[in-house]
Chain length 207, copies 2
């Protein structure tokens, strides 16, 4: 990841907050609860029981449930940022856009409920570590090379991701092809992988 600092990166990876052993244990248990049973199962009483305490005692370590969720989401953003920065530093045989999208999709899919929490409208984003979201999202700018296209690419990635996780696409859809359709639409021609199926291309891209 250090390579990226000397590269195109203009933001830097924030320093994660230090956590006591008990805090780390709570976050670990919370992640387990969230992923195995869903957001509705992540309650203070259930979490407390999981680590052998009672709900009010959690407040000795986190000032609110929101603060605990912030910890979960910061983990998610560090994981996502690391994966994305790695993908731009070392894109595979496919183009950089394909590589970035594959990293994004793989990361989100690995912990779907944490991804949902991270991108939820209700989540108190203001409490996040300063600069973390910008750093995690920077690879989109690096790959797209231009602000508006990078935002559009990010929006495509998030939109496709959340619709996939929520099973909103028509049953039986080939989602690999959907991701690839977006990758092609947002790729610079020179960066496109060779042997790209031409049918997926928006017909007649050239003026």
């Amino acid at each position: 990841m250090t390579e990226a600092d000397g590269g195109l990166g203009v933001t830097s990876r924030p320093e994660p907050r230090v956590r006591s052993a008990r805090m780390a244990e709570l976050v670990r248990a919370a992640l387990g609860l969230l992923e195995t049973e869903g957001a509705h199962a992540l309650t203070m009483r259930r979490l407390a029981a999981l680590v052998g305490m009672r709900a009010p005692s959690i407040y000795k370590h986190f000032e609110s449930k929101a603060a605990l969720e912030v910890a979960l989401v910061e983990d998610a953003l560090f994981d996502m940022g690391d994966a994305l920065h790695h993908s731009v530093a070392d894109p595979g045989a496919d183009g950089p856009v394909e590589s970035l999208l594959a990293a994004y999709r793989s990361q989100a899919t690995s912990r779907p409920n944490r991804y949902r929490l991270t991108t939820s409208s209700a989540f108190p984003r203001a409490g996040l570590l300063a600069g973390l979201e910008d750093w995690a999202g920077e690879p989109f700018f690096i790959v797209a090379g231009e602000a508006h296209l990078s935002q559009a690419l990010w929006a495509f990635a998030h939109g496709t991701m959340i619709l996939e996780l929520d099973d909103r696409f028509l049953a039986g859809s080939d989602l690999d092809a959907t991701w690839q359709a977006g990758a092609i639409a947002f790729s610079l021609p020179g960066d496109r992988p060779v042997g790209e199926p031409a049918s997926l291309h928006p017909v007649g891209r050239q003026p």
Copy 2:
């Protein structure tokens, strides 16, 4: 809207559920609460107070809060579907993709909290009127002309929309340009509006 039936449409607009006067009043009040104060304010007790009753009485008209939200979301999908079908039937001077995206954005922006509810991961989509979501989303297929590209376009639209509503884009971003960047990426060249600003194109698109 009837023109669309004879056109490319293969799905048809479902018949809305009939609502008693009291049900309609509740849905109207619920929408007001949702939009003016947000999802957290939409509680059975507050809604009941707004129409001059007590919370348990609502259950004489809707079997659960979820059923009431289904009514709100069905309204949203009918409104969205009507707007999108209208846009494909009568695209403006801009291309069909621009026109569709503009309709999508305008519709969602007009009732942001209802849009959030409609697209929320937690929403019980199974309770929706059969075929309603398919019908509302059909214009994306009509415009893109191909299944995967249409899904990618829909994903871009939703992603951009929810990020815009949640204020997730970098402060000061020109979101019109972001929408347009996506519109261009997903447009067939022949359909692109004339006089497209070349600067929006990713720099150095040529190899």
